[in-house]
């Protein structure tokens, strides 16, 4: 726009170009950061205790929300599935419906979204507050690489616990579906389990679920650690890192879910 408020031709293109360049620069920085993390992960100094602490923070502390969410999602699936299947007289397939929708899709995606909201945001906030209080600079001045000491153990822990939490979420959801289908709606328990067992196969469904949750784990861990590590050393920087992690992490999960499903049919 000029002073008269007239749109100057070419300016939107210029803006678009600048934004595209900024995006490219940003993606380059993320890629370089990811490379740094991978480099220190394969180097011989393994920080086992810090990795275990990271697993506790990201995994154990996420258990309540994962278990409770799994139980309720399974219960809702059981209810919805039962009423829909009953219209076709196929209530006996409830186990299969609950199993397939959970293992292939809902389990990995919902676990990743819940994980992003709880563990990834907490990780980003913790790292960002370490930036604010000069703890990372303190490490640098002790000749200790913060990527090696702080970032990589947390990154690896997040990647490792994601499939485990996914498995737990799915188990609790199966149980929630069983409670509703069998205990509340009166389906036969054996039929529920048999239908579930028959529908879910290892190679296509379980392995696909693990693959998805691993990809989600890498994406969410990268976003959380990067946003924390590169945050501004202020209170608003911590807040921006936390919010950014939840927003960007969730979008990455949903987009990559579509990509994996479209490419590999998982």
């Amino acid at each position: 726009m000029n002073e008269a408020g007239v749109q100057i031709p070419g300016r939107p293109i210029e803006t678009l170009g600048q934004r595209s360049l900024m995006l490219a620069v940003h993606l380059g920085r993320v890629a370089r950061f990811f490379g740094q993390v991978l480099r220190v992960l394969v180097m011989p100094r393994y920080r086992v205790q810090r990795f275990v602490n990271g697993c506790f923070d990201a995994g154990v502390l996420s258990l309540p929300i994962i278990c409770l969410s799994g139980l309720t999602v399974g219960a809702v699936l059981g209810l919805q599935g039962y009423y829909n299947l009953a219209r076709f007289g196929a209530e006996g397939s409830l186990g299969a419906v609950v199993g397939l929708s959970l293992v292939r899709e809902l389990g990995p995606v919902l676990t990743a979204l819940l994980f992003t909201g709880r563990a990834a945001s907490a990780t980003a906030a913790e790292i960002a507050s370490m930036v604010t209080t000069e703890q990372l600079d303190g490490l640098r001045m002790m000749s200790i690489d913060p990527v090696d000491f702080v970032i990589s153990p947390k990154f690896l822990a997040m990647v490792v616990v994601m499939p485990l939490l996914n498995a737990l979420f799915i188990c609790f959801a199966f149980f929630g579906g069983y409670l509703i289908g069998v205990s509340y709606l009166g389906l036969d328990g054996g039929q529920y389990i048999t239908s579930l067992e028959g529908a879910v196969d290892f190679e296509n469904d379980i392995a696909g679920s693990v693959l998805k949750s691993l990809v989600f784990g890498v994406l969410v861990a990268t976003v959380a650690t990067y946003r924390g590590y590169t945050s501004e050393p202020t209170a608003s920087g911590v807040s921006a890192a936390t919010t950014g992690t939840v927003v960007v992490g969730s979008i990455c999960v949903l987009l990559s879910d579509y990509a994996i499903t479209a490419l590999w049919g998982v």
Binding site: M130, Q135, D137, G138, L139, R140, M141, S143
Partner: protein, 270 residues
Amino acid sequence: MGDGVDGSPAAAEDLRIEFDGVHLTRGRRSVFRGLSCGFVRGQITVVLGGSGAGKSTLLRLIGGLVRPDSGSVRIGDRDVARLPDGQLFELREMIGMLFQGGALLDSMTIFENVALPLLEHTPLGIAEVAEEVTRRLLAVGLPDTEDLYPRQLSGGMGRRAALARAIVTDPEILLCDEPFSGLDPVNVRRIEALLVELNQRLGLTMLVTSHHLESTLRMAGRIVFLTGGAAVTGTPQEILASDHPEIVEFLDAEGRQTHGAGSARVGEVS
């Protein structure tokens, strides 16, 4: 560059740390405009200046945490501003730094914090590390705090623990950002005595930023006063006798005491 505090040329090897034409801009604000000054090896240099004069930034430049827009920051024959990361990490093994806020890792106990540099960079066993950590904590007046977390200490105690961490590897250069801030008079004396003792016993090169004028005058071998993006250097007596308007104003505000006479040298100002 390279002049001694008395105006005579100093031997090049005496200047352990040297700033040469350092320019640094933060946003629209120019922090240093051609800063040139040297810090004598084995001496305690106190860096004075008003808020925002760049005292902490000066220490961060020496540690390579901030890179200048132009100019050089040399430690010995190495230009910190141009060292690649790997060599910078090697160089930092000879530097200890006390940050203004302590910068202790809040997920680790005081023992783990102080022991960290030893465990990372020395072959010492855990018993020797424990002995060394206890000794250093005792030296800064923090006995029986090994099992506490930084959040369980007051600000002053946290800073003393951070000082113990900064000196635990006996670095050649010690950078202290406001070590006396928030301390009671007894602990100011204790930390001051510890710094002087370390300087005398190990010949540490120390750079201390401070607003604490009394301590500054007692311990400083040399003072660097930052003003307008450049530096005025001299002995405490020379700085006290300076007629530089900003120094006069600063000292008046801090409760000026008249000691000796002399003249301060104004560093290169662009």
